[in-house]
Symmetry: C2
Subunit: 222 residues, 2 copies
Amino acid sequence: MEEVVLLGFWTSPYVMRVKIALLEKGVEFEYKEEKDIFEDENKSELLLKSNPIHKKVPTLIHNGRPICESLIILEYIDEVWKQQKQLFSHDPYHRAKARFLIDLFDNKVGDCGRRMWASKGEDQEAAKREFVEFLKLLENELGDKPYFAGDYFGLLDIALIPITCRFYTYETLGKFSVENECPRFMAWVRRCNQRESVSKTLPDPFKVFDFVLEIKKRFSIE
Amino acid sequence: MEEVVLLGFWTSPYVMRVKIALLEKGVEFEYKEEKDIFEDENKSELLLKSNPIHKKVPTLIHNGRPICESLIILEYIDEVWKQQKQLFSHDPYHRAKARFLIDLFDNKVGDCGRRMWASKGEDQEAAKREFVEFLKLLENELGDKPYFAGDYFGLLDIALIPITCRFYTYETLGKFSVENECPRFMAWVRRCNQRESVSKTLPDPFKVFDFVLEIKKRFSIE
């Protein structure tokens, strides 16, 4: 009997990636919500023990062995449950490209996103420009295909879609519209949202917005 | 006929990773040295065109298609030339662990390394402590095995060994001895250096030291 435990937090897009991948693969798992991910003393003992270096969610525990970092977990899931539908292309070049874009996304969009809701004036404007530029780059990658890998919902789709539950927050606080800037990207978002794995996983954007307002208050961000 | 071109710079440990992997696989390739990797205007047109986002070495160009970012290139090499000896374990858990450690290394040691040669006083001391702590973590991972994956020289060995050509620089400028702190790690270094792929790739540590002194002068770092 396999034991699969996912330690997560409901607003983390990195956790959502892992949930979607497990749902797509049809892997049964137990989800454990952390009470708070900002202060180490509020984190669960299981998280601190399983991911002593980063102390971050998502952490997947498979038969007692922890796997950390969302992209690494996605590849692990695809490799372990390989009888189920493949999430990652078999083509080494497409795999390299997907890894490159996820890495770029992780390094860029986290920072841009934070600056869109946590800063003001010129820095916020610059973050918006960088963010839209990045989405346009992704639109370009997508081209006329329904999904990034072509006809199927794959690893790159799974890695990118969770952040879109924050778009309402970015748009409201940054005063712009992703739909106006990147309509083809938004068509892809709607397509992904029709999948049960996605619609069951992504939280209500209004709740995410309220949470961000709370965080701003908690950390005294104007 | 396959065409494999590697754009590199002689002091970059990330480039060395790719060279070692290609040598281990027995893949013939053309190596093109960049004149300078610090200012965009000194970079080759081929690099700027092939890696427009990061504009960084290593960039591998395989039959005209560029692949960027050293770890992504290593995985690509292992997947494309899979008839040759496998660099990466087949076990998903070991793969996840290797990816985790390489990612940690890339995020930690670049920064520590720079602070060991570019800063002074308390910050330099802190960088040394972090660096030694990280090497001890690696020693722990290595245990009694000859290589990180066990009996064979694999992906994690390839990813980690290049930085050791900078140890002389770190030790001289930081006034400490890695051998004293982490003798088991240094035994692994000597083991790796017996491989032709490594000894042919890693530059003379004294030349690396001279280069670092030049860089300190060029960027007015005391």
